[in-house]
């Protein structure tokens, strides 16, 4: 395996058929990143038991930041507190954050969390998964991946993981849903998901291949030209209306003058 430091496009692969819902990833994440007990950057969705005995089924899904290729949080943040590292991680800079929580609205996965329990002095910030840059830059896997006992979570080059995912589907077409979630969803994500139940049952939203930010960015792109044009039109209207009114007034005065002259001559 290539050294993690040298991976060009880092990504996760999660396989729901392998997850045993042990939540060790949650513990290791909180320990690694020093997260208080009442918060978490990673959480496990449990769909609960399905089916009837003896054909019982159960699915769980590990959620953390999807590290989108084209992050919507980054597009939405008014002060540019988010950034996307070329090798994958989407990072958040608390020094710029104004606490508007627009990123929470923008993220279709509900990933960024806000400190509702902190006042002005403690400082209320957004918290989200960072892909453990402190570890991956040292050649280690992120804490959640390193801890996972069943390899349900894997880490590596995105292209390799995609190949691996498709290979697993091909090897067991009866076991998997024939789709890798995150390959194209929301413009592609650095968190790829394999599942044996429909993805929306795991709590994942149905998203198209274009990122949700596209329309809003297109509108923002035409804003300044529109403002300039609109300003020019309004200026034109103002000048035009004023000239027209003055002309009308002058004509009216002439009429009055003519009338008064006519009266005088009488």
């Amino acid at each position: 395996m290539t050294d993690i430091k040298n991976i060009q496009h880092k990504a996760f692969l999660f396989d729901a058929t392998r997850c045993i819902d042990c939540r060790a990833c949650m513990i290791s994440c909180s320990v690694e990143n020093n997260i208080p007990m009442n918060k978490t950057r990673i959480w496990v969705a449990g769909v609960g038991l399905k089916g009837e005995y003896p054909n019982l089924d159960r699915a769980s899904m590990v959620f953390h930041c999807m590290h989108c290729e084209e992050p919507d949080c980054l597009s939405a943040c008014p002060v540019g507190a988010y950034s996307k590292r070329p090798d994958g991680p989407v990072l958040y800079d608390s020094d710029k954050c104004i606490g508007c929580r627009y990123c929470m609205n923008a993220c279709p996965f509900g990933v960024p969390h806000f400190d509702y329990d902190k006042g002005l002095i403690q400082g209320a910030f957004i918290d989200k998964c960072t892909m453990c840059p402190q570890r991956i830059d040292n050649g280690q896997e992120p804490a959640c991946v390193a801890t996972c006992p069943t390899d349900a979570l894997m880490f590596g080059e995105r292209a390799d993981l995609l190949k691996e995912a498709h290979a697993r589907i091909q090897a067991h077409p009866d076991r998997y849903v024939d789709h890798v979630y995150g390959e194209s969803e929301n413009g592609g994500t650095s968190y790829l998901i394999l599942s044996h139940v429909p993805f929306n049952e795991l709590g994942l939203p149905n998203l198209g291949p274009t990122p949700v930010k596209d329309v809003s960015e297109a509108v923002m792109g035409v804003t300044i030209p529109f403002a300039l044009t609109w300003g020019a039109i309004l200026t034109g209207v103002t000048v035009g209306v004023h000239a027209y009114n003055q002309k009308k007034e002058a004509a009216g005065e002439k009429l009055v003058d003519a009338e008064s002259q006519a009266q005088e001559t009488k």
Binding site: N38, K39, W43, V44, A45, G46, F63, D72, L74, S75, A76, P78, V79, G80, K96, C97, I98, G99, C100, R101, Y102, M104, N105, P108, F109, G110, H113, F114, D115, Y116, D117, K118, G119, L120, I121, Q122, G123, A124, F125, L202, G203, P205, L207, V212, K213, V215, S216, E217, A218, V219, M220, T223, F226, W230, G231, L234, T235, V237, T238, N245
Partner: protein
């Protein structure tokens, strides 16, 4: 021995009961805000991971900006189209606009996690963010409104020279103000464009900004009629019914355009099937359309209604209620957040349902009361309602 008791004449205040109520509400909001600043937003509100925005955004931001739209509509009418007859309606609308936007800013100072950093928008700009555009527009438009309203304050202080000075240079600011208003009234709709997966398809459309702008014009007209009607009743002054009648004629046209655009969009987007079979969402949609657009369209088409003070007031209230419902729908009721019960650990205490808490509402109520009080004080101490002939605005317009 005879006791001599002298009572010093004390300062006696006989407050108006309405003022007492308003000041009390403001006091409550202030205390609640202090609790929020010490213990966090969660201590006073029901906002959660799944509902990051709630009552404050829907009421103070969306409604506050909407009811401020009378200012740019009247400024455009009087200054740009030179319909000077409407000039007696200008000052109260500019003041309402100013107060509406102040309400937005003060509410944001409570709602933002870091209110002390609100100015970061001016140094760290992310050009793709709609919220940045709104923030910058609101900041600059508030300045423009202050400039537009300054002559009234100067006249109140009897500093006629300053008032005339500002009037000389008012036109560029008026045009800037109309451009800024167009931008952020529509951008308020663009704010929701980033939620195609969350906002119900009856509301989410790429032309949300267009719809927001058209409805803002109708709200502006209705707001001018509403505030003239109410202040003529409360301050016992004459009602410029002939002006309001003319203004009201424009409303059916604007609303007709709005309805045509909205239903054309739904047809083109193939969303018509949502109109009847989406339960609560269908009900909200039809309530909003019938109350906010159809009913006022019919009412203001009738000359009898337009010429009666009660008809004007009723029509404008119906329109405002319906259109404010639209703002609530778009920013709150029709937004489907992911259901966190399926995947957020219970210890994170995130709510599936969002019901604004009482302290949360009290903040908005307090800020709104401050706005009403400020309007009342201005009406009492400033030449807010000018005579049609001798005001400096009229003089300035004639001098141009």
């Amino acid at each position: 021995m005879k006791m001599q008791i002298s009572i010093n004449p004390r300062l006696r205040i006989h407050p108006n009961p309405l003022v007492v109520v308003l000041v009390t509400l403001m006091g409550i909001a202030f205390i609640v805000a202090m609790v929020r600043y010490v213990y966090g937003i969660g201590a006073i509100s029901d906002l959660s991971y799944s509902y990051p925005w709630g009552f404050w955004i829907s009421f103070d931001l969306f409604t506050g900006v909407a009811i401020g739209s009378g200012a740019f509509v009247m400024a455009a009418t009087v200054y740009i189209f030179e319909l000077k007859e409407f000039q007696p309606l200008l000052r109260p609308s500019v003041l309402t606009g100013f107060l509406g936007y102040m309400m937005v800013v003060i509410a944001l100072l409570v709602d933002l996690g870091h209110p002390e950093r609100i100015w970061y928008m001016m140094i760290h700009m992310n050009p793709t963010s709609v919220l940045l555009e709104i923030g910058l527009c609101v900041m600059s438009y508030l300045t423009v409104l202050a400039i537009e309203f300054a002559p009234v304050v100067f006249e109140g202080l009897k500093w006629q020279k300053f008032a005339h000075f500002i009037h000389k240079f008012i036109m560029p600011f008026v045009i800037l103000g109309v451009v800024l208003s167009t931008l952020h009234q529509s951008s308020l709709g663009s704010l929701l464009l980033i939620q195609p997966a969350k906002l119900y398809p009856l509301w989410w459309t790429p032309i949300l900004p267009v719809l927001f702008f058209i409805s803002a014009v109708s709200i502006g007209l209705a707001m001018v009629i509403f505030e003239s009607s109410v202040s003529s009743r409360y301050f016992h002054r004459g009602l410029e019914i002939h002006l309001l009648e003319k203004l009201a004629r424009a409303i059916p046209i604007v609303l007709a355009v709005y309805l045509v655009v909205r239903f054309t969009q739904l047809t083109l987007a193939n969303d018509l099937h949502y109109l009847l079979n989406s339960g609560l969402m269908s009900i909200l949609f039809w309530t909003e359309i019938l109350v906010g657009s159809v009913t006022p369209l019919i009412l203001f088409s009738l000359k009898r209604i337009r010429q009666s003070p009660n008809g004007l007031l009723t029509g404008s209230i119906v329109l405002l209620v319906g259109m404010i419902l639209n703002r609530f729908d778009v920013s709150w009721f029709a937004v489907r957040h992911p259901d966190p019960l399926t995947y957020i650990p219970t210890f994170m205490a995130s709510n599936v349902h969002y019901i604004p808490s009482l302290p949360e509402i009290s903040i908005s109520v307090g800020i709104f009361s401050a706005g009403i009080l400020a309007f009342g004080l201005a009406a009492r101490y400033l030449p807010l309602f000018e005579d049609e002939e001798k005001s400096s605005t009229a003089l300035a317009l004639q001098a141009r």
